[in-house]
Structure formats: structure tokens, C-alpha cells
């Protein structure tokens, strides 16, 4: 028999109210853990994806949408910009690096991005052994997660499908060949299929040559350098012969940009720009915004805006979580206060058998601390399991990568805080121990 065992016996004796209090406490703690983990991982994800990108240039529209669609690959793009203008911009003296992106297709929900080798290199991605980068159309390099989830390896062939989400028309007659797989980068790259821009143009120009219906660039569903083929598979079969002839001209983007002789002016979805000098921030965005087809969006600015929105929500949830913990603390208090009433005989009995008030004070404290610490423990565990659940749900949505197995230093704070809440809740009931009148309590008269 000791304080701990005695407290446990009492807690077992009133299982239901113990369970209720522990649950409430755990709910509050779990909520805070979820907020901490999700927030930390989103921030990390944002930071990794934004690495070194100073400006994103795309079609006019919502700058937030532009950032979300082309940096994080979350939203749909708001349109296309002419390749020629993008090329001109890339040569601006204040631009150190400009990475073109052409969106429009997906493979099993993973976006296929037409770009250059500069894109993976920007994220310091490395190819897994035995792979190489694409150097002609219809060659693809897969992000680590794509390769793993789809079970593809170099040499395999797959067909992309139309649109940015699963379920679009499959371009079965234009299969890609996997030529390389990237090591995990902890960025959005892990969930992308990279190919040369020429591949994207190639597929869609072949469609286009047939029916010629030019899709408005502002159409978000099928934006990107993309023209709808009206899903007529019959058009394509005869076009397979063009395959070889059309290909070499599109090998390099530079050559292409000047290809005014081509039927259509080529388009890309967005341009990711790194500045040469901080001074660029002063003039470059304004210059771009003056054009009638392009806008410049600053990821840092848009993210700050997004954080401000999300911050408010997170803040509210955080207050709710603390409210739950306070409520649980109050539950412990009320439970103990009532229990002290029922238990005054037991306590008086122990006093009469020689227990000093301090000993019983410690006993009541122990009981409260067990509840709060078990609550905190259960809460932390539940929080991690919840985040793991969110993570597997998000993994299916192919958006943001998350894990419940991340443990943050901030979580450690939950334990001293729980002890404080438990101690505070038990203080008043425990102090009553000192005022027990042994004789009046134990002796009937």
C-alpha cells in the first residue's frame, strides 16, 4: 500500500468518472498535438517548396492560386502564358534562374510537369543510381513517392491522362518511358512526374492538329499547355507516324521560343524565378504586371497571407484545446471535491490511524496527477495517431506529405502543463484534508 496504489484503487473504484475526466483531458491534449504537428509539417513543407523561389510568373488571376498551383501543386493553375514572353523574361539581367513549368496531365493523380532539368536541380534532387534525366520527348523522371506507389522503374512505360486529377482521358497512344527516379527530397518533387516541356507540347499539339479547338487559357480544369482533343481516340491512331518527325524540332526550348512559324504560339503554365540581386524585387514584379498576359506573385508575400488566414483558424482551435484542458481540470476538481465528501470517512479513518494531514494531501494530489498525466499521455498518443490518420488520407489525395511519427520538442511542454493543471485542480480538495474533524466524522452520536 502506498500513495500510488491507494490512488489507483480509488480511481478504479469510480471507473466511469475517471474515464470521463481522462478522456476530456486527452481530447484537449490530442487537439494541441495535432495542431502542433500539422502546423510544423505544413511550415516545413512550405519552406522546402519555396526554397529559393523569389517570384512566380503566370497568367493573370489570383496570385494565391498561382503560388498554390505552381509551387505547391495544390490548386489548379489559373491559365497559361506565352512561351515567347517567358523566354524573354528569363533573359532579364536581374533573373538568375527561371524554371518553366507546363502542366496539364497526370498519371494516377500525380501531376506530370513539363519542365527542364533546372527544376529538380533547384531542389537539389539527385537521381537514383541507374537513372538519367529526360533528353527527348516522352521521357520521364519520377519523384520518389510516385515511383514507389506506382511500382515503376527505369525502362517502364506508362500513359498520362488528361487533366490534373485522376479520371481524365488517357493518352494511351503517347506513352512515356521512365528514364530516371529521384531520391526523396522532402518537397513536392517527390509527388511529381517530370518530363521535358516538349513532351507536353508534343502530346497536345498532336491532339490539336486534328481538331483545332483552342481551349481558353483561363480554364482552370485543363489549363497548362494543353488543348482538348474532344476525346476522340480515332484522331490519334493515324498520327503515330508524326511521332518521329515532329520530335527533334522540340528538343530544346531555346530553339522553340523563336519558332514563330509554328501554327500556334507555344505556352507554358508558370515560370519560377530566382533573383540575381535583391534589387530585382523593386522593379521586376511591376514590370511583369504591366504586361497584359502575365502577373508576378511573390511566394513569401502570399504565404504570409495564407499563414495569417490559417493562423486565425489555428489560434481558435488552440484556444478550444486549452479550453478542453481547463474543462478537464475542472472535471478533476469537481470529481475530487465530490469524492472528498464521500471519502471524508476514509480520510478521517486514516488520520485516526496516525496519518499526518500532509500524507493525505499528497494522496489527493497523487490521484489528480495520475488523471492529468494519463490524460496527457493518452492525448499525445491519440494526437499522433490522428495525424498519422490525416497523413494516410492526405497521401491518397497526393497533396501534402505528413507523418504522425514526428515528435516535437514543444510536445514535452504538455507534461509540465498537465502537472500544473492537475495540481491546481487538486489544491482546494486537498487542502480540505487539513480541516477534517476526526471525531465528528467517525463517531456517531
Amino acid at each position: 500500500m502506498n500513495n500510488l496504489r491507494l490512488s489507483c484503487a480509488y480511481l478504479r473504484h469510480k471507473k466511469l468518472s475517471t474515464a470521463l475526466t481522462v478522456t476530456t483531458f486527452a481530447a484537449g491534449v490530442a487537439m494541441i498535438v495535432v495542431l502542433l504537428l500539422v502546423n510544423a509539417q505544413l511550415q516545413n513543407e512550405f519552406a522546402n517548396n519555396l526554397r529559393g523561389i523569389d517570384l512566380v510568373v503566370g497568367a493573370k488571376g489570383s496570385p494565391m492560386q498561382l503560388i498554390l498551383s505552381s509551387v505547391f501543386h495544390l490548386d489548379v493553375p489559373n491559365g497559361n502564358i506565352p512561351l515567347a514572353q517567358a523566354e524573354r523574361l528569363s533573359k532579364h539581367p536581374m533573373v538568375r534562374e527561371a524554371i518553366p513549368l507546363a502542366l496539364g496531365d497526370n498519371y494516377r493523380g500525380f501531376r506530370i510537369v513539363g519542365t527542364t532539368q533546372a527544376y529538380p536541380e533547384h531542389y537539389r534532387a539527385r537521381l537514383k543510381a541507374g537513372g538519367r534525366y529526360f533528353n527527348k520527348e516522352m521521357e520521364a523522371v519520377l519523384g520518389a513517392e510516385v515511383a514507389e506507389r506506382c511500382g515503376l522503374k527505369p525502362g517502364d512505360r506508362f500513359a498520362g491522362s488528361h487533366g490534373l486529377a485522376m479520371g481524365g482521358e488517357v493518352h494511351a497512344q503517347f506513352p512515356y518511358t521512365v528514364v530516371g527516379i529521384l531520391e526523396p527530397t522532402d518537397s513536392v518533387l517527390d509527388r511529381l512526374v517530370l518530363t521535358g516541356m516538349e513532351s507536353v507540347w508534343y502530346i497536345h499539339e498532336h491532339h490539336h492538329d486534328d481538331d483545332g479547338d483552342h481551349e481558353p487559357a483561363g480554364h482552370p480544369e485543363q489549363a497548362g499547355a494543353h488543348h482538348d482533343a474532344d476525346s476522340d481516340a480515332g484522331h490519334h491512331t493515324g498520327k503515330d507516324a508524326d511521332h518521329e518527325t515532329g520530335s527533334h524540332a522540340e528538343r530544346d526550348a531555346d530553339h522553340h521560343a523563336g519558332a514563330a512559324g509554328h501554327d500556334h504560339e507555344r505556352e507554358i503554365t508558370a515560370l519560377l524565378i530566382s533573383y540575381n540581386s535583391p534589387l530585382a524585387a523593386a522593379g521586376l514584379p511591376r514590370m511583369i504586371d504591366k504586361t497584359n498576359s502575365m502577373q508576378a506573385a511573390s511566394p513569401a508575400f502570399e504565404m504570409a497571407r495564407l499563414n495569417a488566414f490559417m493562423g486565425r483558424g489555428t489560434e481558435t482551435l488552440k484556444y478550444m484545446a486549452w479550453f478542453l484542458i481547463a474543462l478537464a481540470g475542472f472535471g478533476i476538481f469537481a470529481g475530487l471535491y465530490n469524492a472528498m465528501n464521500e471519502r471524508r470517512y476514509d480520510l478521517a479513518l486514516m488520520r485516526s490511524f496516525g496519518a499526518r494531514p500532509g500524507k493525505l494531501f499528497a494522496l489527493v494530489m497523487t490521484e489528480s496527477l495520475i488523471v492529468s498525466l494519463v490524460g496527457a499521455g493518452v492525448g499525445v498518443l491519440t494526437g499522433h495517431l490522428l495525424v498519422e490518420g490525416i497523413a494516410s488520407w492526405l497521401a491518397n489525395a497526393k497533396h501534402v506529405q505528413m507523418t504522425g511519427l514526428l515528435f516535437l520538442a514543444e510536445e514535452a511542454w504538455l507534461f509540465p502543463v498537465s502537472i500544473a493543471v492537475g495540481g491546481l485542480a487538486a489544491l482546494l480538495p486537498a487542502v480540505r484534508v487539513y480541516r477534517i474533524d476526526i471525531v465528528k466524522t467517525l463517531v456517531q452520536r
Binding site: Y345, D346, L349, F353, G354, A355, K359, V443
Partner: protein, 212 residues
């Protein structure tokens, strides 16, 4: 072992009982007789160190209880006095065995499971050791209370009407057990009762409530 000298017992400065003189040697037992409300229980509580004497002296094992205060009194009470209340006050969250060990926990002495089991065995309720008190009969609970009062081998065991709720047969058994336990640790029994059946077991008796 127990010595009372011109004791005034009561509480909140109101004297209820006066005992001019009483001395019990080790192993001598004393009965306190009196009608309900005569102050038997007040006297018992004073002897048990739960109430401070309002006058005179009460010495247990050579220690004047009136001179002890606070935690010193708590400790003394835990080690030298065993108490059986009229209302048995079993701790319902604990098993029978744990109820017995609770007295050692409270007194802050080493907990002796073996001794507790021997006591329960002697009292014939060893098979109930892992049961909750609520599942026991009144007579069985009474025995647990006796084991709890005796576990610390106190110098005096103080009982408030320990037999009045029992039938004749149980009354005899319980008195037998109490005397047996008292004898084994050379303790004195001090029992307050209006139960005339147990008079024969005691060496001395005092009567409270006017006639002494």
C-alpha cells in the same frame, strides 16, 4: 500501560465526563459502561488520542497524551492505540487485506502482509482477503475492523460498542477473538458498551454518566 488521573474529557471546552482515577496494567482489560449519551464515546476518543484532555492527565505506554500535539500525536496514536469504531468505516475501494494494511500505511510503519494474513486467518476471514468489504456480512466486517485495530500491535485497543450489533453467539466469538489478540500482543482492551453480556470478560469497569 494506561493511567488516568483526574481526567476531564469533552470537547470545545465543554467537560462531558470526568474520571478521577484508573490504572490498567498490560493485559488488563477495562469496560466503560453508561447509557447512550452519557459520554462513553467522548471518553474513548480522549483515551485514543483523538480529543485533547480538558484537564488532568492520561498516560499511555508512559506518554502523557495531553502533552502531544500535531504530527507527534498522530504518530503516537498510529503506533500505540488501536481503534474499533461503532460504525466500522471500511474503505470500500480497497480489499479486506488492503483495509488491514491501510492502518500500517497510515501509521507510516513497514507493511507486514504476512502478519495481516495471520490476523485474518486467526479471525477466520483469510478466504475473504481479496474481497471488497461491501461483499462481507456485518460480522465479517467487524472482524476486519478488529484485524485493522490490532495490526500495529498497539498497547491499548479501544472499541466503541464492538459487540452490540451482534447476536449472542457472534458476540461470544468476537469477544474471544479480541481477548486472544490482546493477549498475543499483551495489549489492554478498553471497551465502551451498554452490552451487559460481555461484563464477565473484564478485570475492571468504570461507569460514566453521573454514577462512577
Amino acid at each position: 500501560m494506561l493511567e488516568i488521573d483526574r481526567l476531564k474529557a469533552g470537547y470545545e471546552d465543554k467537560v462531558i465526563v470526568e474520571v478521577p482515577w484508573l490504572a490498567l496494567a498490560s493485559g488488563e482489560h477495562c469496560l466503560i459502561l453508561g447509557d447512550s449519551g452519557s459520554g462513553k464515546t467522548t471518553l474513548l476518543c480522549t483515551m485514543a488520542g483523538l480529543l485533547t484532555p480538558l484537564g488532568g492527565a492520561i498516560t499511555v505506554n508512559g506518554q502523557d497524551i495531553g502533552n502531544l500535539h500535531g504530527s507527534a500525536l498522530d504518530t503516537f496514536r498510529g503506533r500505540h492505540i488501536g481503534m474499533i469504531y461503532q460504525t466500522l468505516h471500511m474503505v470500500s475501494a480497497l480489499t479486506v487485506l488492503e483495509n488491514v494494511l491501510l492502518a500500517q500505511y497510515a501509521a507510516g510503519v513497514a507493511q507486514d502482509r504476512d502478519r495481516a494474513l495471520v490476523l485474518l486467518e486467526q479471525l477466520g476471514i483469510a478466504d475473504k482477503k481479496d474481497h471488497k468489504p461491501a461483499t462481507l456480512s456485518q460480522g465479517q466486517q467487524q472482524r476486519v475492523a478488529i484485524a485493522r485495530a490490532a495490526i500495529n500491535s498497539p498497547g491499548i485497543i479501544v472499541g466503541d460498542e464492538p459487540t452490540s450489533a451482534l447476536d449472542d453467539r457472534s458476540c461470544g466469538t468476537v469477544m474471544g477473538l479480541l481477548l486472544q489478540l490482546a493477549a498475543s500482543s499483551n495489549a489492554s482492551l478498553v471497551i465502551a458498551t451498554h452490552d451487559q453480556r460481555i461484563k464477565g470478560y473484564f478485570h475492571k469497569e468504570i461507569r460514566v454518566g453521573g454514577i462512577q
